[in-house]
């Protein structure tokens, strides 16, 4: 009984499993996702595309994009990360490296 009482809070917070609902660590899925989220034709982007050159890239759309990546993969990307990288392949690499949990 005592153990049950002490563990009640774990029943309340059943966190979402920290795993990908979309396999963004696969290149094609990542490019499909990016095309959809940034409203750009998939034919016009690749891992070499500089994300700041995408016409829809703005402070709001960047935040939406980063929040959607977190929603799908649980990966967190900061402004510091973005300042050190250039193209979509770098974002893909971050997702792949961090997709085993928080970072």
């Amino acid at each position: 009984m005592k153990e049950t009482e002490n563990n009640w809070s774990y029943i309340i917070f059943v966190r979402f499993e920290e795993k990908m609902s979309l396999p963004l660590n696969e290149i094609e899925t990542f490019l499909d996702f990016t095309s959809s989220e940034l409203s750009i034709s998939k034919n016009s982007i690749s891992l070499e595309t500089r994300f700041r050159d995408i016409p829809s890239w703005s402070s709001l759309n960047a935040l939406i994009y980063i929040s959607r990546i977190n929603e799908e993969t649980n990966v967190l990307i900061t402004s510091g990360d973005l300042s050190e990288i250039v193209n979509l392949g770098d974002i893909y690499k971050l997702i792949k490296e961090r997709s085993n949990g928080y970072n």
Partner: protein, 329 residues
């Protein structure tokens, strides 16, 4: 981890003062017309309030209304604390200015707390700690929270203009020395490496401007707020302290939805005022709490997070009845 617990603390009334002047994000000229609907959907904010008056005037009205609502007299107030980051003249403290204007008792403890989005919970924790040390039959405090954040925004800043809004709130709090049951628990945390997520700088005209790095506020909120709340509730270790509702600082929908998702909360337990009032800094929690006060008389979870980077959560037992009012000026 700074978790504290307090007995005998009771919220006796809340007054929110909201400027009547409404700004509509669907009409915001600095955002492209075809982007405005998306902005409103993603941030959850359509309307924002702006005050031409200094924050002191809003607090002054709130104090006057709070005294009427509670029936307290000027001699009843032992503590007056102002939580704000937008006072026009910071010397003397705004709390001292308001003390003078309202002619409170000489024995009143008065000071300001420089805090933003986590400020309501910081103020509650500070007052809860102080009240129990005062040698009085019924120690009482007024907690004044809020900002006129729009006074610090750059007119062309598409990150801050659609988000921030002006409002204040005054909460009356009383300590009952005869009630030794725990009525408030707090978990206050600071992640100082996030100090540039929201910050102030001087522009070319030597004017103070507030800057917001939305991606970092998102990252810090998602990383640190759920664990802060989980630790607080685990510390309570009592099923009857399970919160009936969760009142979050109203940052924006992207951030709040992510925190709610991480905690796997039922959305019906999470009141929201973003659409109507935007992000009103430290006033957002009491404003949002008041939308559910008439149907809630149990434990509530309050969580503020933002500028600092600061995260502060409280688990509070509400009295059976908390008088409250929201007024526009």
């Amino acid at each position: 981890m700074a978790i504290t617990k307090h007995s005998g603390i009771k919220i006796k009334g809340i007054v929110n003062v909201i400027p009547a002047l409404n700004e509509d994000n669907l009409q915001l000229p600095i955002i492209e017309e075809n982007e405005r609907q998306k902005l409103v959907e993603q941030t959850g904010i359509r309307f924002r309030r702006t005050s031409k008056l200094p924050v002191k005037n809003l607090f002054s009205r709130g104090i006057k209304e709070a005294m009427q609502l509670t029936g307290w007299t000027n001699n009843d107030v032992d503590i007056l604390i102002c939580v704000t980051q937008t006072t026009e003249l910071s010397i003397p403290s705004l709390a001292c200015q308001l003390h003078g204007d309202h002619e409170f008792n000489q024995q009143t403890i008065c000071y300001d707390i420089n805090a933003g989005c986590s400020g309501y919970v910081y103020g509650l924790q500070t007052i809860s700690s102080l009240l129990s040390t005062i040698n009085s039959k019924k120690p009482r405090a007024l907690l004044c929270c809020g900002d006129v954040s729009t006074h610090l925004l750059s007119p062309d800043d598409t990150s801050t203009q659609p988000i921030f809004s002006d409002a204040i709130s005054v909460t009356a709090i009383e300590f009952d020395p005869n009630d030794d049951s725990i009525t408030a628990r707090f978990n206050l945390e600071t992640i100082g490496k996030g100090q540039t997520a929201i910050y102030m700088e001087m522009n070319a005209l030597n004017k103070k401007i507030m800057r917001l790095n939305g991606i970092d506020v998102f990252a810090y909120s998602v990383k640190y707020v759920p664990s802060n709340i989980e630790a607080l509730i685990e510390n309570a270790q009592k099923p009857d302290e399970l919160p009936e509702i969760y009142v979050f600082h109203q940052a924006n929908k992207l951030i709040n939805d992510a925190v709610i998702r991480k905690l796997n909360l039922n959305i019906d337990c999470v009141p929201n005022t973003l659409n109507l009032y935007g992000n009103t800094a430290s006033a957002s929690i009491p404003i949002t709490l008041c939308t559910r006060l008439s149907e809630t008389n149990n434990w509530v979870l309050l969580s503020g997070f933002g500028v600092g980077f600061s995260v502060a959560s409280a688990l509070i037992k509400l009295p059976d009845f908390v008088p409250h009012k929201t007024i526009e000026i």
